[in-house]
């Protein structure tokens, strides 16, 4: 691969190259784990607006994007962040104040929607949700949907089971595919071609990546392709799907990366405290995001002691006996 075609670049370049105002994006991870925070913070610093964000249970990443005013529309299953915020605070505020349009799905529905996008079909079937207002109450109205060619005209569609009562199902719910413009994920290891190896739970990262027109990967370790070829079983995302690879150690901080570091409960608590008040929140983001040139700047503010406190234990993969309460 020649140098111009290389996928290795800084996260600043990747965000600039693949993002636009109004882009449809998704981010990997789950609540306080493996959110691609270096990319999220860079999107905030580059002040992208009116994003259409797809999420399942992405806590911190989603809330910081919403809090910074980057998101216009959100499709999501769960906005919560462990003990520090049972409901994500800036998300709650934006919904209650009507500054954010939200469409609700369940976690399985969102995962299936990414799977449909990854598999190249218009929908996936499920037996979930009959009788729920997830099916009947639409956050995005029919008119709004019809006016926007990027999203399906229907939130969900119910059909009669075309195979009689097979699987004891009289009806089947069809959930529409998602194909984001860009998905950002953070992984333990990626090679220079873009092949990714995730340790621990993959959440919905693999489906999110394969559903997307562009995938920007940030990684703890950047390796040569040969290094990942001894156990190809462990590489969940082949390079075919990936547009950019960015080497960003601690790139998920303040969320956790299994076998590398834990979530930083200190940061998450400080975030939650600040998020409850508009002025305090602005001050907080000014200090930790706008006030630093890049992710390393945030890590410097956090300081060596905190990074040491969250360092993963070699046996368990998390920080044993870390103060979390």
């Amino acid at each position: 691969m020649d140098k111009e075609n290389s996928k290795v670049m800084t996260v600043e370049t990747a965000v600039k190259r693949f993002m636009n105002d109004g882009s449809h994006i998704s981010i990997g991870g789950f609540t306080l784990n493996r959110n691609p925070m270096a990319a999220v913070y860079e999107i905030i610093r580059q002040r992208f607006k009116n994003l259409h964000l797809y999420a399942h249970s992405n806590g911190t990443g989603v809330d910081e994007l919403i809090g910074a005013g980057c998101v216009g529309k959100l499709e999501i299953a769960y906005a919560g962040n462990g003990k520090t915020a049972a409901t994500c605070i800036r998300f709650r505020k934006a919904v209650q104040e009507g500054t954010l349009k939200v469409e609700d799905y369940s976690n399985f529905m969102m995962s299936l929607r990414f799977l449909a996008g990854a598999m190249g079909v218009p929908f996936m079937p499920t037996l979930s949700g009959f009788g729920s207002e997830i099916i009947t109450a639409w956050g995005f109205s029919k008119e709004m949907r019809q006016a926007d060619p990027e999203i399906p005209d229907d939130k969900l569609v119910i059909i009669d089971n075309p195979f009689g009562m097979k699987q004891d199902a009289s009806k089947v719910l069809l959930v529409p595919a998602i194909n984001p413009d860009v998905t950002f994920i953070h992984v333990q290891k990626a090679d220079t071609m873009g092949t990714c190896r995730i340790d621990g739970l993959t959440f919905a990262d693999v489906e999110q990546a394969k559903a997307s027109k562009h995938v920007v990967v940030t990684c703890e370790e950047l390796v040569e392709p040969d290094a990942l070829r001894e156990f190809p079983e462990r590489n969940q995302i082949p390079f075919l799907h990936v547009s950019a690879v960015c080497h960003v150690p601690y790139g998920a901080y303040p969320t956790a990366v299994y076998h590398h570091y834990d979530y930083d409960a200190v940061y998450l608590r400080a975030y939650a405290a600040a998020a409850k008040d508009d002025d305090k929140f602005l001050t907080f983001q000014k200090k930790y995001l706008y006030g630093v040139p890049n992710h390393q700047g945030l890590l410097n503010l956090a300081g060596q002691e905190r990074l040491k406190a969250i360092k993963a234990d070699a046996r368990t993969g998390y920080a044993v006996n870390m103060k979390r309460g």
Partner: protein, 257 residues
């Protein structure tokens, strides 16, 4: 012998743990539901299998996770997969019929339907909550679901502001008519009582009230009334149950406080 000195959280965790049987596959969420699952595993159902919607099965829980996305669910599991695999395990009847799930909610109605989405108008809510997460899926697929609730009038409501996770819908077979398999919440464990859903009518009734509480107090804390004619006093946690819960399940007192 019964322990006198226990908290309501401990009572709730033990009440839930007793619902879990050996061989059950336990779907656990965060907080007290995870504590209850751990209590069952350590006390009365050592061969139950705990699994998480994030895709971890039979994890070696050495420290209580604070989220199902916590790295503490990944260590020592039989398999680390993803959300799709976890929900498929419940939707698939071969495995799904063995699952017992533990859920929470902001509101519950007489039919065991749950609201975890919003108070007020959905489009302009007074209070917005986290949303379904896996709740709607679990309540759709899993034959036995335990709901943890605080016993308050604003939580046991005549009509949900938003129906996130289906229970018996409007009762009387309406769940099946809507297209769902049998399942949903059938036990509600609160800070005062254990309520159950009658399998015929689909309606809630009072099964057990905690020592120091009466059926009247319970009814005073709900918007709707329920049958209390079968109610008896619950057996509080035993010393063994309490000791195990405190020393083995949450020694850091992350949930117990």
């Amino acid at each position: 012998m019964q322990a006198q000195d226990y908290s309501l959280k401990e009572m709730m965790a033990i009440m839930a743990a007793r619902e879990i049987k050996n061989g059950d596959i336990v779907f656990a969420g965060t907080g007290i539901s995870m504590l209850a699952a751990a209590a069952a595993k350590n006390i009365n159902a050592p061969e139950c299998v705990i699994f998480f919607e994030t895709g971890a099965i039979d994890s070696a829980i050495e420290e209580l996770p604070l989220s199902v996305g916590d790295p503490r669910v990944m260590y020592g599991s039989a398999s680390n997969a993803g959300l799709l695999e976890a929900f498929a395990t419940m939707q698939n009847r071969i495995t799904g019929d063995k699952v017992i799930a533990i859920l929470g909610a902001a509101q519950i109605d007489r039919y065991g339907n749950l609201n975890t989405t919003a108070i007020g108008d959905y489009h302009q809510p007074d209070i917005r909550f986290s949303g379904s997460g896996g709740g709607c899926d679990v309540a759709s697929f899993v034959p036995r679901c335990i709901a943890f609730m605080q016993h308050e009038k604003r939580k046991f409501v005549e009509k949900l502001d938003y129906l996130t996770s289906p229970g018996q819908l409007q009762g009387g077979g309406s769940r099946e008519a809507a297209g769902l398999r049998p399942g949903g919440v059938n036990v509600v464990i609160t800070n005062m009582a254990v309520m159950r859903i009658d399998s015929e009518s689909g309606e809630m009734y009072l099964d057990r009230y905690y020592p120091g509480v009466t059926p009247e107090i319970i009814l005073d804390n709900m918007q709707f009334s329920v049958d209390v004619s079968k109610a008896k006093q619950a057996k509080p946690p035993t010393e063994t149950e309490l000791t195990t819960l405190r020393q083995k399940c949450d020694p850091q007192r992350l949930i117990l406080g």
